[in-house]
């Protein structure tokens, strides 16, 4: 295998209906990529399906939430010495064919974290319902303001990382509803961030984990996390990188 060792981290909770396709598409999209499925204590056969397709499966003994699951994958990447990682969700909403485009800024050495954003330019087809669009926009504005760089999509779970990014998120990653806060932590830690326009699919099986009460909790939790994260000090990574 040539080029930097690359791993795809796929958090999955009860995704036996979709995980097979996800793993297959990742391996078809990028030659030589290792696929790590983090099974967040699924009660179906998500782990078995993923394993049968040749993915490495990390089995959490109980449900720790999406952020805790993703972080498990990043810790694996640190321990195994991977230099690049991409995170895709196990429900198939992220298109593996776009992994290559996500890695481009890393390959050019321009970024440590690349966010697959639905709103970089106006060309994306994703038109969320009003309330969600508002929420996504408010979070993006807030993170841009607090992080000092324009970010268009802070709720995207489709991201690519170089070694510095992997190490940061292996250490610092929120356990639930992680994306918004993680973006701010990355900026405040001095990671270079770029964004790539991507399309996301409607989910095919399972149900979205966002319900009304949860979205209330989501908003309040994330706002508090952003406030606290902007009060904390994070060690800057520039020195470590060079």
């Amino acid at each position: 295998m040539t080029g930097p060792r690359t791993v795809a981290v796929v958090p999955a909770f009860n995704e036996s209906g979709a995980i097979g396709r996800v793993v297959g598409e990742i391996r078809a999209a990028r030659f030589g990529i290792d696929v790590v499925v983090v099974d967040d204590a699924s009660t179906d056969d998500t782990a078995a399906v993923a394993e049968a397709l040749g993915a490495t499966v990390l089995r959490l003994p109980f449900n720790v939430g999406i952020g805790g699951a993703v972080q498990t994958g990043f810790r694996y990447a640190v321990e195994e010495g991977y230099e690049r990682a991409v995170r895709l969700d196990g429900d198939g909403q992220h298109d593996a064919a776009e992994i290559g485009r996500l890695f481009e800024p890393l390959e050019r050495g321009e970024a440590d974290l690349v966010i697959g954003s639905r709103f970089v330019d106006g060309r994306g087809s994703y038109r969320p319902p009003f309330a969600r669009r508002l929420g996504i926009r408010v979070f993006a504005r807030l993170v841009s303001l607090l992080g000092g760089q324009q970010v268009t999509d802070t709720t995207s779970g489709f991201i690519a990382l170089d070694r510095a990014g992997i190490e940061l998120f292996a250490r610092e990653y929120p356990h639930d509803y992680p994306e918004v806060e993680a973006t701010l932590v990355a900026l405040r830690s001095g990671l270079r961030l770029s964004q790539v326009q991507v399309e996301m699919r409607e989910r095919e099986t399972g149900a979205s984990s966002i319900t009304f009460i949860r979205s209330l909790y989501y908003i309040v939790k994330v706002l508090l996390a952003l406030l606290v994260a902007s009060l904390r000090r994070y060690p800057r990574l520039e020195e470590a990188r060079r």
């Binding site: 040749g54 109980f62 720790v64 321990e79």
Partner: protein
């Protein structure tokens, strides 16, 4: 002035609290670490119940003129809030540690289940 009966009940209740906490620690059902705030609660309430003049003085400081034992309630409430807040921090720490243990277990199990020292499948 605080009614004598209120003082007596206050003293008895505080002593009971202290004794129960000590007994829990003695029986190893409560760690010293988590008993300290409870003991402090018991001791402060005991002092304020027994030292009637002191309670009156403190009530005067904080502007409670009509019924000094209200200060007992306020102090007790404050300590209970402290204990609860302390427990919230303990739970948060335990949650983080628990998740980290789960993560490390997942990583270890994957490593142990892998064939020893053999090369990993290139696309695995």
């Amino acid at each position: 002035m605080t009614p004598v009966r209120v003082s007596i009940v206050g003293v008895l209740a505080s002593v009971l609290l202290i004794l129960v906490v000590l007994e829990l620690v003695r029986g190893r059902r409560l760690k010293e670490r988590y008993a300290l705030l409870w003991l402090a609660t018991g001791v402060v309430l005991l002092v304020l119940s027994a030292w009637r003049g002191g309670l009156n003085t403190i009530a005067g400081w904080v502007g409670v003129t009509s019924y000094p034992p209200a200060v007992l309630f306020a102090v007790a409430t404050l300590f209970i809030l402290l204990v609860l807040l302390h427990y919230s921090t303990v739970i948060s720490k335990l949650t983080d540690e628990n998740v980290e243990l789960a993560q490390r277990l997942a990583l270890l199990e994957e490593r142990v289940g892998r064939p020893p020292s053999g090369p990993r499948s290139p696309a695995g």
